[in-house]
């Protein structure tokens, strides 16, 4: 079928080719960034997102669906801000929440691609910078009650004007980072990646023409909207509400994220206005960030087959009254929102959708911990101990949980040896913990225990929800084990702490265990041979095999006693 676009007819095959090429360009930008950036935040933690957006700021292609909301929010705000003042060679930088941003360190750069006198599209990259002012390195401040305590809000600024660097803007940005050299190199990498994107897209324009490209921008979004509507067929139309809660440290107060989801035949409306009010700590989420996590929850229902772009928001609307934990005002503290309450947003939407359709997966996240230390005499150092707080993924229908939750784990787990060479902390132990995986027909991933030894005179920053947090089982599956944190000297004061900010370490040796992934489906319906395999692998103990799965083992745990298992399972109602 041919589509008339600006008097140019383009066939649907070419449109689809262009759509896929744009996705590939976004991916290449990300890959280049990853290979060239010198900061661990980018080349190891992969905390960035690239996108190509249309003239309105709508995302057409991205390499990171989780940031769809913030990419779109930032792009729309910046395009609108400079609607009559954007020129070829301009590069705009911003992080401000009121311009679609989230955390202070998440800096977005936006550059237009001009053909003739008009911008055809824009390139956007959001990346976590190593530091941008605030109280502590990296913006991690559990005691922050406002954005200023996490970093400097940067309203949209032209970092480059018509290809020429705005030296005063650049200098001011660098002045406000504790790592000006890395900051500058990272900025250069971001801009270089966009240049590559521009080159690739110009090649496409050379081959297909600008009008074809414009048509492809629309097609890409229409394609996603169409795919989602098609996938939604069979979902039960109706209103669904679900909530997810996080526990604030150290008070133990519970903050609820509540999603009211209305599924109709061709749209999904998600409203978070019943969520708790904005909190005076760093777990708030901007609406853009909330949109990204909500969109991810929806995309999770479709698997990787449906790409992420603004076409999603043609079907899904995400709303929230201002001043909620899911829609913090621009001055609110949001430093940990990528973990919490991001996870709660994801889970609340996901739980509501699991009612609208038969569940195909369990929890998408795992409780996270902020855990870092630094030498007492070096405020610029941040040793990210949370790298080793590894929570397990929950199971899905037909699939045991394995590794970390995929959607929230872009980062690369470093090799222990490499990491120990870079940081003054040794990893004494790193292994799975028996019986931490949530039991189920498909069990969750086991949690990992890490034993870390830090040097003397180090200060620690810690925030976590405490052992009350855990993953939740689905369709009759069991919850995963709760996370744990133990110090060498358990009698030492602070052992029970859920919040320490740049304070003395209770002990030099600490043991952290992430949360286990939750199970999916009743445990007594799990294939006994799989249970046996888990026992042999040390993931499940012989006792738990009997108690939780109703699987009785013989031969010292090396074989399934089929008859005993059948009796036990029958007794358990299986």
């Amino acid at each position: 079928m041919a589509l008339p676009v600006d008097k140019v007819e383009i066939n649907s095959i070419d449109l689809e080719i262009l759509r896929r090429k744009l996705v590939a360009v976004a991916g290449e930008m990300g890959l280049q960034l990853r290979k060239t950036a010198q900061s661990v935040e980018i080349n190891s933690e992969l905390d960035y997102a690239t996108a190509i957006v249309d003239r309105s700021g709508a995302v057409v292609a991205t390499d990171n669906p989780l940031q769809l909301g913030t990419l779109s929010g930032t792009a729309r705000a910046v395009v609108n801000h400079f609607r009559f003042n954007m020129r070829p060679g301009d590069v705009v930088v911003t992080n401000a929440p009121e311009y679609g941003g989230t955390r202070a360190v998440d800096l977005a750069v936006i550059a237009p691609l001009f053909v003739g006198n008009s911008a055809v599209l824009y390139f956007v990259i959001r990346a976590r910078m190593p530091d941008l002012g605030g109280m502590y390195v990296g913006g991690f401040n559990p005691e922050a009650t406002e954005f200023f305590a996490e970093g400097v809000p940067v309203t949209p600024l032209k970092l480059y004007r018509e290809g020429r660097e705005s030296r005063d803007v650049m200098t001011t940005l660098l002045l406000n980072s504790r790592f000006p050299d890395t900051f500058r190199l990272t900025l250069d990498s971001l801009i270089a990646a966009m240049r590559t994107g521009e080159k690739r897209v110009r090649d496409l324009i050379g081959g297909y023409g600008a009008d074809a490209l414009r048509a492809a921008l629309n097609h890409a979004q229409a394609y996603v909207a169409k795919r989602i509507r098609a996938e939604m067929r069979g979902w039960a139309v109706g209103s669904y509400s679900a909530e997810s809660a996080l526990v604030r440290a150290p008070s133990g107060d519970v903050v609820h994220v509540r999603a009211d989801v209305i599924v109709s035949e061709d749209s999904i409306r998600i409203d978070f206005s019943r969520s708790d009010p904005q909190a005076a700590c760093f777990v708030n989420s901007t609406l853009s960030n909330t949109m990204g996590f909500a969109a991810t929850a929806v995309l999770a229902e479709f698997g990787e087959d449906v790409p992420a772009n603004d076409g999603l928001f043609q079907v899904i609307s995400v709303t929230c009254d201002p001043g909620r934990v899911t829609s913090s005002t621009s001055g609110g503290a949001v430093g940990f929102s990528a973990a919490h309450c991001g996870a709660e947003i994801l889970e609340s939407v996901s739980r509501a959708l699991r009612v609208a359709r038969s569940a195909i997966h369990g929890d998408l996240s795992t409780p996270r911990m902020l855990l870092s230390c630094r030498p007492g005499d070096d405020r610029r150092c941040r040793v990210s101990l949370e790298t080793w707080v590894i929570g397990g993924a929950s199971a899905s229908a037909g699939l045991d949980g394995w590794n970390r939750p995929a959607l929230l784990s872009r980062s690369i787990l470093p090799s222990v040896e490499e990491w120990e060479r870079a940081w003054p902390v040794s990893v004494r132990k790193l292994e799975f913990v028996t019986d931490t995986a949530g039991a189920g027909r498909w069990r969750g991933a086991p949690a990992t225990e890490a034993v870390l030894r830090t040097p003397d005179s180090h200060l620690i920053t810690l925030w976590w929800q405490g052992p009350v947090s855990q993953t939740h089982g689905t369709a009759g599956g069991d919850a995963g084990a709760s996370p744990r944190l133990d110090w060498d000297d358990a009698a030492n004061s602070g052992a029970e702490s859920t919040l320490i900010v740049d304070g003395p370490m209770p002990a030099n040796l600490l043991r952290v265990v992430g949360a286990g992934g939750a199970g999916f489906g009743p445990a007594i319906s799990r294939d006994p041979t799989s249970v046996l395999a888990d026992v042999l692998d040390g993931i499940v103990s012989i006792e738990a095999a009997a108690e939780q799965y109703g699987v009785v083992l013989s031969s010292k745990g090396r074989a399934v006693d089929a008859k005993a298992t059948a009796r036990r399972r029958a007794a358990k109602g299986g």
């Binding site: 401000a96 002012g133 605030g134 109280m135 401040n141 922050a144 200023f148 305590a149 400097v152 809000p153 940067v154 309203t155 949209p156 600024l157 032209k158 030296r167 005063d168 803007v169 200098t171 001011t172 002045l175 406000n176 504790r178 405020r379």
Partner: protein
Amino acid sequence: MVDVVTAEIVRNFMESTAAEVVQSLVRSAVSPIFNEAHDCSAGIFFFDGETAQIIARADATPVHIYGALTSVQACLDFFEGDLNPGDVILVSDPYYGGTHIADFTVVTPVFYDGQPMFFPSVRAHMLDSGGPSPSGFSVNSREIWHEGLRFAPMKLVEKGEMRQEVWDLLIRNTRLPETAKGDLNAMVGACAIGEERIRAICDRYGLATIRDCVHWTFDYSERMFRERIRSWPNGTYRAESTLDTDFAGRHDLTVRTAVTVKDDSIEVDFAGTDPQSQGIVNSVPGNTMSYVFTVFASLCPDIPINSGLFRAISANLPFGSLVNPAAPACAAYATICIGCDIGDAVMKACEQFVPDKAGTVSIDLCLWWSYGVDDRTGQFFIHYDYNKSPVSAGGVKGQDGWGAWAPPFCALTLPSVEVTEVQYPCLYRRFEMTTDSAAPGQWRGAPGMVCEREVRHAATPVLNQAWIQALRHPLHGYAGGCPGSGNLAVMLPGTDHEQLVPEISFENPPMRNGDRSLIDKGGGGGWGDPLDRDVEAVLLDVVDEYVSVEGARHDYGVVIDENGKSVNTEATTRERQRLRKARSGTDWTALGRQQLLQRACIPRQRSQEQNHA
């Protein structure tokens, strides 16, 4: 050869232009910190190809305008080759000249005949510039990033057009955006007036003549100052001054200086000064030199103050010390502490060769910041209460200390109590001078004050920070005069929860409507031996209740008759002879200071003033 009369006309024109610029600023700005307290200043700067020089300044606290000199220099260095007519530059980072982040400098290049030679500039204290702590002052600050957004030199206006993006960044990085908008516009507007006036005088006399006149002005001040230095005895004079605390765990931080008079030049060496602090009391070079220049300007009040005067002065500022910290050290409070100790140390050194001119040039810290929401407006407020911080004027030879601030700080004015009560949710219960708080001397210091304030009309509990210095190291006395009596604060005075604040209150419970706070301040130092004070002057002070009958006898050896209105001459003669003998070679403490120290040692004791009340 420039005509001297014309040169003097031009010099005075520049002085009056600076005054007009600052008047424009205080009359158009929104913040009480500008329009009431006048914590702002203006200067006319000159650039003739080498370095920025100051021609004239007005309403200038010392730290402002000399700090601005380094800021203007930083702006010119930064934009060398990139400056255009119509540009307006802003800078706040203390490591780009200047003093602390709170003081914004706005400077406008005046292009005349194609040359940017003159730079009207204003510098002013902004109530807030982002950062983790409102106002930028916090005991938790350990790095410059804790004090607010650091602005490198930035073009706020470019070729006559406001750079909206820079403006947006400025306004976004303050907790008081509406106030900041008004104040920034006032700053830009004030500079525009300066430009207009400079163009007018250039039109009238021509650029070449103006340039000659400016050079003449510099040369005149330099010549006068060098002549003055020649009248001082050659030698090296050492002195030191100590700060009570850096609010970060260190106490007794000492500035050490050696002032060398050599023929017609002065060298100030701060070798031996204590290492920089982890807290917020480090003085960047612009701030340090501000106090150095202030001392010498104070010693020569008859010499026009401009960069010519500074040419004869050189300084050594040890890197990594309190007077020249390594980045990213904090610097928020350096404008007062340790800055005032820099001034005091230099003045104490100068006292040794020009005692007749020496006196208090500093202030000490007795500040009270409050934060909360005003119930009448629903707006967040930051109250920087100048009424709780004045009083530092010391005596000088021939003149008792009077008024509030030490003379170099007199550009600051005390905000009206009534207007302050309208602007901030508070009620002043007491604001009066206190008996025996004036530092004794042949010419005494100004009496101290007590200020008691009540929270009123607050919508939320009000957070408070009281910052107190000089309880242990008060302002110095000179030529045998006594030091000031020192400072302390009391939270919730007269209640069961009364709490003394000898240095800092930061984590005290918030105050609610009706809760009170009290600050008890000493004044500047006295000059000369109190036993040499005119007996009638002491009697007058007793009648005025500046000095008690007991204080007259204890400090001045003046015995007042029982009627309290006349002096027992014979008894006074005997008492003075006795005291002179008793004090010979020994330290003694004035009555007012004794009383303050007594109160400071007994936290729960209600102050004497409270009991009277």
